[in-house]
Assembly symmetry: C2
Homo-oligomer: 268 residues x 2
DNA sequence: CGAGGAATTGAGTAGGTTCAAGGCCGGTGG
DNA sequence: CCACCGGCCTTGAACCTACTCAATTCCTCG
């Protein structure tokens, strides 16, 4: 599955491979990137709203989330970041962060300087394409969240978020078929879904009563994933996990030829 | 007001200039792009969820929106697209649309083929950078919407959306200080904010009673914009309209040198 | 073993929905 | 120019989902 150079399993490689066929060199580079990880303890704030962004990041272990705090102290969690997520690539374009980032449990994150990003995109088009695809995926998740917050009931929202987290962890090989790590507190779930922790609790209780899932020791066990997806109205296609190799290759070839023709290529 | 080729005012140029200093050649190219516009009548569907995306687009006149329909017929509007918005640049990366796009009033949109996009990015780094920045801006708007839907009251939501639309139109020179075109129906607003048209109506009535705004002939008049922003908790910084020339230039120079050094550059 | 955050419970409340009906345009055709 | 039509806005009353507040229990970690 993921492995390579050393002996290590690398969620970033695993994720990007889904989209783009990576060369051994590519894989080596990604492993090297992830090797320079920094450790953060639980609940540590990595980036603060208003700061200038410093670098891009790759999550290698643990979990983090983007969030905004409102003046009255309420919090809205925007996205969860799990191992394999390579984010804030646009670091040099934005002047200030419009949100903060914090860890959930103990987490390891590898900062990636802008020069490295530039090098990757310049010399490793397959990684570049895969990163771009992964940014599209994150944007699609934002849209999906808007649909959930806007038009779904609380049970449906909760179910949807759990389904998304399960699928994302499955993709990077971190999920058994029926269980994932879920270090989230009910308050975290609530803040991600625009609900109250009290209400999230009641929803989860009902899910348990209905034999849909169990939660214990920071693990989520799915007892009836199908039914949960039905409640969520979960349509995983928005994660765009259905790429075919042929198309990717064709795209990359186009990149190459355009590059030969002139100079640079690729972009948002 | 709308014209093109020759001497005309171009909302795309206006918008991108905010970020990146464009050469005359750049401007010419953008004008040419916008000249090949197609006309759509009110309520016409431009792209359907599930389809393969065909090309990128620039809105030149009118207004459109991205949306999703749920199985039960409910609708969630994701973003509004106004003149100057250049969107779906990632067209070649995604296999299927995860949402649909439709016009509101009569609207003109210029399709931009992938080869043109590639050419722009390859030969016009300033436009490329500006487009990338504009994509970041769209993503920031998605995040802001999540915050609104998740943690703000209905009046606050409505006020926020109006403030955003006013500011966006102002940026492209389509707003007087106190009035903008607003061809949206109350149902549209409701579907964008996860509310009911009935409730949106009551909120707007209250705004009018409080002398905050008036709505007539598809125009929104602000009577007390400051107070409206206060109700919205509107912090326009997320639109990243505060770039300074120096930074942009520095970034572009880096693009140039990296390009010289190798081949391509730039990316998601 | 103790402490503090997290989960749970209950009762009362409120913001927003639902349903249904009526009124107001603006556009269209005679 | 007027009458008609359909979509949109407006209104009211009943309802319900999810919130608030506060107290209690449960865990987990030190």
């Amino acid at each position: 599955m993921g492995g390579n150079i050393g002996r290590s399993w690398n969620p970033l490689v695993k994720k990007l491979s889904l989209f783009s066929p990576l060369s051994d060199e590519d894989v080596g580079l990604l492993n090297a990137l992830c090797a320079k990880e920094e450790r953060f303890r639980a609940g540590e704030i990595i980036a603060v709203e208003g700061d200038a962004p410093r670098s891009a990041f790759v999550v290698t272990h643990g979990m983090a989330f983007r969030y905004r705090l409102l003046p009255d102290g309420r919090r809205q969690i925007l996205t969860f970041l799990i191992p394999g997520d390579f984010f804030d690539l646009h670091v040099f374009l934005l002047k200030t962060m419009d949100h903060s980032i914090s860890t959930i449990g103990p987490t390891r994150i590898a900062p990636v300087g802008r020069d490295v990003v530039i090098d990757i995109v310049a010399h490793h088009p397959r990684i570049g394409a895969a990163l771009w695809w992964s940014a599209m995926q994150e944007e699609a998740m934002l849209r999906e969240r808007i649909v959930a917050l806007g038009r779904r009931s609380a049970p449906s929202c909760v179910a949807y978020l759990l389904c998304e987290l399960v699928l994302r962890q499955r993709v990077i090989g971190m999920a058994g078929d029926h269980a994932i790590r879920l270090p989230l507190t009910q308050t975290d779930l609530a803040d991600a879904l625009g609900l109250t922790s009290v209400h999230v609790d009641r929803v989860l209780q009902r899910f348990r009563r209905d034999q849909l899932l169990t939660l214990e020791h920071r693990r989520l066990n799915l007892r009836n994933g199908g039914r949960l997806e039905a409640i969520a109205g979960f349509m995983p296609n928005y994660l765009q996990l259905n790429r075919t190799l042929a198309e990717v290759i064709r795209y990359l070839d186009e990149l190459e030829s355009a590059r030969a023709g002139s100079g640079r290529l690729e972009d948002a």
